[in-house]
Symmetry: C2
């Protein structure tokens, strides 16, 4: 179908946004629109300029016969701070407090478009970490893990507490749940993660870090490496955490059941050694 520039810009923008982290040869567009490569290059510069000025992402170009353009989603620091500050405010609502000092979070985890936004923060953070797969533990880590993985264009491996017969052979490990000091089992379908993968672990909550420590051990069982660790909320923990190198978006620093007060602040995402790029 032949298109004028305006039509091409709309269609190409949609194509880039739905194909993150995928190298697209220029011929893909020039054939689709029956346009000269020079016109397509101009279109791409316009899109790139808007994407960068609006912090939607970058478009990187690889030269040569096998070259092409790749859309890499990013989030600006200011945008991330606003998003996380809003999230902290929501998490501090006293109605969330449950017996035992737990926080009700399903309204946040149940919001698919919020998960997409938060997933983009991690996808932006780990965009150069050569992530091959995202791993999470069922159930509540799944929505955020899928959002991250979608923006990075990699598959998700779902670790489970129960063995399922519908998943074929599985790999199981025992781990010590850090806060409760109980021995538990987690397992992952053998086919669900390719050996030698570089794995980004994503979860909704971390206290002592036992579950994430378990996932790290499971990653080793698949001859794979850790690309990074990201959690939606970390809780302060009296003893040393079992995991040191992680990125958290929010931090639950105080829960006062009597006074019905919750204190939630920004996680370590802005205070990490490596700079947070725009």
């Amino acid at each position: 179908m032949k298109y004028r520039r305006s039509g091409r810009l709309v269609d190409m923008t949609n194509y880039f946004l739905s194909h993150p982290h995928q190298q697209i040869p220029l011929t893909h567009f020039s054939e689709a629109y029956q346009s000269a490569k020079s016109s397509i290059s101009e279109d791409i510069s316009i899109i790139k300029e808007v994407f960068e000025s609006k912090h939607i992402g970058t478009i990187s170009t690889t030269a040569g016969a096998s070259g092409g353009v790749t859309f890499v989603p990013t989030v600006a620091r200011q945008q991330t701070e606003e998003l996380i500050d809003r999230l902290c405010d929501r998490l501090e609502e006293p109605e969330r407090l449950l017996p035992g000092g737990y926080l009700y979070m399903m309204d946040i985890i149940g919001d698919p478009n919020l998960m997409q936004e938060l997933g983009r923060v991690f996808a932006s953070k780990f965009r150069d970490a050569s992530v091959d797969a995202v791993m999470t533990m069922a159930t509540k880590g799944i929505p955020l893990a899928y959002a991250v993985a979608g923006h990075l264009n990699v598959p998700v491996s779902i670790v489970r507490a129960q063995h399922r017969i519908t998943e074929g052979s599985i790999v199981s490990i025992n781990y010590v749940s850090g806060s409760q000091k109980r021995i538990q089992t987690m397992s992952l379908a053998r086919r669900s993660l390719k050996p030698n993968s570089n794995v980004l672990i994503i979860d909704d909550f971390m206290k002592a870090g036992g579950t994430i420590r378990g996932m790290m051990d499971l990653v080793s069982e698949f001859q794979s490496s850790i690309a990074g660790i990201g959690v939606l909320t970390e809780a302060v923990h009296d003893e040393e955490k079992l995991v040191s190198d992680y990125v958290s978006l929010t931090k639950l620093s105080e829960v006062d059941l009597k006074a019905k007060q919750i204190k939630v602040e920004q996680g370590n995402i802005f205070s990490l050694d490596y700079s947070y790029e725009d």
Copy 2:
């Protein structure tokens, strides 16, 4: 920030795509770009034309003071047929066969961008069904449910087999798993679904329909109604299914363990009474 038309088209396309089923007042754009409403209206007609000709979606306009424009994602019938035919081919791969006649599906369910595409098919199908929430059963229905809910801009309610203390008060029901004829329990956090919601039930697999029947009963417990039911794969079942009015994308019609043969065909999505719109 002031933008020329080309820049506005790129940015507005991104905005529409990330805000499906949300009414946006024209002033949102005219203020953001410091442009006249007439220019914005022209931009929108260009975007609408491309979205419709490329079957990305429609942009509907509501007139009046409280009016605005709404992006509604759609999928063309041909695109849906190609997507589902490819999925059927993948599901027929003999390596999927597990002992007991189960199919390994985690590679498909683990692909976030495939889930997004399939989710758009359901979101397009149920776009006029006034869906307020999507409900699914943990674990394997979650990725598809989130994709559908994201495109419809509604929250997700995750039903679980186990009671969790981190979810506050819950509503539980017993149901009979249709194929195994066992009595089981499912529960949903009281806060996780607003009363009087119109609920779209999404799941990955349906055989006799017992789990979905259970979710329908749970919806009633929340004084809510069923907007529709969608499943990724249905299996043929010798007896009558417990659910009649559902949409399936694929149908597992034959599993021959000895010959290692699986037959998967299109689900009922194209053969339903009501026409499938482009």
